[in-house]
């Protein structure tokens, strides 16, 4: 039986679902978290750092919404502020300098929405990441692990290989937002979820997601292991290309979407 899009939305958002921190803890050895954007502050919704993946040095950028109530408040429920995106870019440029691949974990309702975020240029921060990531000459592998909420998710999604977990979603707008704008009724979110074509199988069909990691009947440990194996293989594949070939392929990946 086909799973309804809105059921996947609920699964992608569900409280117990592993997010960035889980994957760092279970996939990366000797992880060292690195803080701050060197401009304004440190954003809790994005964890950045360095470590080893299968024995090779990598930079990891991961969205995290937190587990306890306190932790969630501190990470403002996984909605990154401009300084989060700027921290991510700083660490990606550092990765480029040292020739390390970059792994991004995406899972966020969207970029933080508030007065302070606008004051500090939320739009500019996202735009800068899209622009610069298209030119970072080390492999970038992005994984949508939970809810891929619009521009706030895309800001870590300019990559060479986009992996989606089976029940992850990725959308231009939340189904609730879409329903309330189009039909003045956020209760019609399930209809919007179908119409938006936001599931992993949809994105795979569009050629935007390159790989779906199955979740059905698997433990979190097994999902994490399968994901790790696939990321390692993708990095090896990317490293066969010259820097220019890699960047041309990355540009081509997005250029063909029309």
């Amino acid at each position: 039986m086909e799973i309804k899009a809105y059921d996947r939305v609920k699964t992608a958002r569900s409280g117990g679902r592993p997010m960035g921190k889980y994957y760092i803890d279970n996939m990366i050895e000797d992880f060292c978290e690195l803080h701050g954007d060197r401009r304004y502050g440190d954003d809790g919704a994005i964890i950045g750092g360095v470590g080893f993946l299968g024995g090779k040095p990598v930079t990891v950028i991961a969205m995290e919404r937190g587990e306890t109530v306190e932790d969630r408040m501190a990470r403002h429920f996984g909605c990154p502020a401009p300084e989060g995106y700027r921290k991510a870019l700083r660490l990606m440029k550092q990765a480029e300098k040292f020739g390390r691949p970059i792994i991004c974990f995406i899972g966020s309702p969207g970029a933080y929405c508030g007065i302070e975020a606008e004051n500090r240029g939320q739009g500019e921060a996202i735009a800068e990441n899209l622009f610069e990531m298209m030119g970072i000459s080390v492999p970038i592998i992005s994984v949508v692990a939970g809810e891929g909420g619009s521009g706030g998710a895309l800001a870590l999604g300019v990559c060479d290989s986009l992996i989606m977990l089976e029940n992850a979603i990725y959308s231009v707008i939340s189904p609730e937002g879409c329903a309330s704008i189009l039909w003045k009724d956020s209760a019609k979110a399930p209809d919007a979820a179908e119409a938006l074509r936001l599931t992993a199988p949809d994105l795979y069909k569009f050629g935007i997601a390159d790989k779906i990691i199955d979740e059905t009947d698997k433990t979190n440990e097994k999902i994490c292991k399968d994901l790790k194996d696939y990321i390692v293989a993708q990095i090896e594949l990317c490293e066969k290309y010259s820097a220019q070939e890699l960047l041309d392929k990355r540009y081509g990946k997005f250029r063909k979407i029309k």
Binding site: G114, E132, L196, I257
Partner: protein, 267 residues
């Protein structure tokens, strides 16, 4: 299609701020600024080009790229038909080349009369192609933005246009070519979070609404009252995100000067 529109007899318009009824001729002669209250009214792409491009220099590109319904979104086909009838356009942007004060450039002008200037695959494709053309021909790009953001009826494909256009801007920039973004009312959402904020020089029209998240959404989410002048061009200037606020009547001259200055450097 586009040129025909340019010379079509236009109906008189009401000022969006003070409500004054203004004869079209008078309004167009006044750069679409209300002669009564001074408010800047939104302009169609054809009107903007008539104001900015030197006479008879504009040559349109990709005029035949039509808006489509790529994810078969319910009700979108009807919306497209209505938008086409309302705006006389095939989608929310007009692209091409022109001269400004004798300086040749590539130019894109978004048009809010087509589905609030939202960006779907066709808008993304046209602007991307323009930056690629400008890179191949070493031309500067002047871009006028006005947009409600990414177009939700084209789903994830719209979102991806943000990355696609930003990539094309990056390649154009790496070729040491100039991009001037002119932000007009309103510039929001996914357009702000991509090519609107990527100009080497960012100009804004006075009082234009410029921001990422919608005002109502911010109020509802945070429960905070928004400060006066929040998300205006002046707000963006004082927060360091805009280089210049240019009066509409001086805009062409300002653009021509900037284009001339950027011809002079050693590249």
């Amino acid at each position: 299609m586009f040129l025909k529109n340019l010379f079509k007899k236009e109906a008189d318009r009401k000022c969006t701020k003070c409500g004054a009824e203004i004869p079209y001729k008078k309004l167009s002669e006044n750069a679409f600024i209300c002669p009564k209250c001074g408010a800047y009214m939104r302009m169609k792409a054809s009107e903007r080009l008539a104001l900015i491009a030197d006479a008879k220099t504009f040559s349109e590109q990709n005029a035949d790229l039509k808006c489509k319904n790529p994810i078969d979104f319910p009700g979108y086909d009807e919306k497209i038909e209505k938008a086409k009838a309302d705006s006389g356009l095939e989608d929310a942007v007009v692209c091409g080349t022109c001269e400004i004060g004798g300086e040749k450039c590539a130019i894109f002008v978004m048009d809010s009369s087509f589905m609030m200037g939202s960006m779907g695959t066709t808008v993304g494709e046209k602007i991307t192609s323009l930056f690629e053309y400008a890179l191949d021909n070493s031309l500067p790009v002047v871009g006028f933005t006005t947009s409600g953001g990414a177009r939700m009826q084209e789903g994830i494909l719209s979102l991806m246009q943000m990355a696609k256009v930003s990539g094309a801007v990056k390649r154009h920039s790496d070729g040491k070519n100039l991009y001037i973004a002119v932000l007009t009312d309103p510039t929001t959402g996914g357009v702000t979070a991509s090519f609107a904020m990527l100009g080497d020089i960012i100009i804004a029209e006075p009082k234009a609404l410029i921001g990422f998240a919608g005002k109502r959404v911010i109020e509802q989410t945070t429960g905070e009252k928004l400060p006066e002048g929040f998300q205006t061009a002046e707000f963006m200037l004082s927060h360091g995100f805009v280089d210049i606020i240019a009066e509409r009547k001086n805009l062409k001259e300002k653009l021509a000067t900037l284009l001339k200055i950027h011809k002079g450097g050693k590249r």
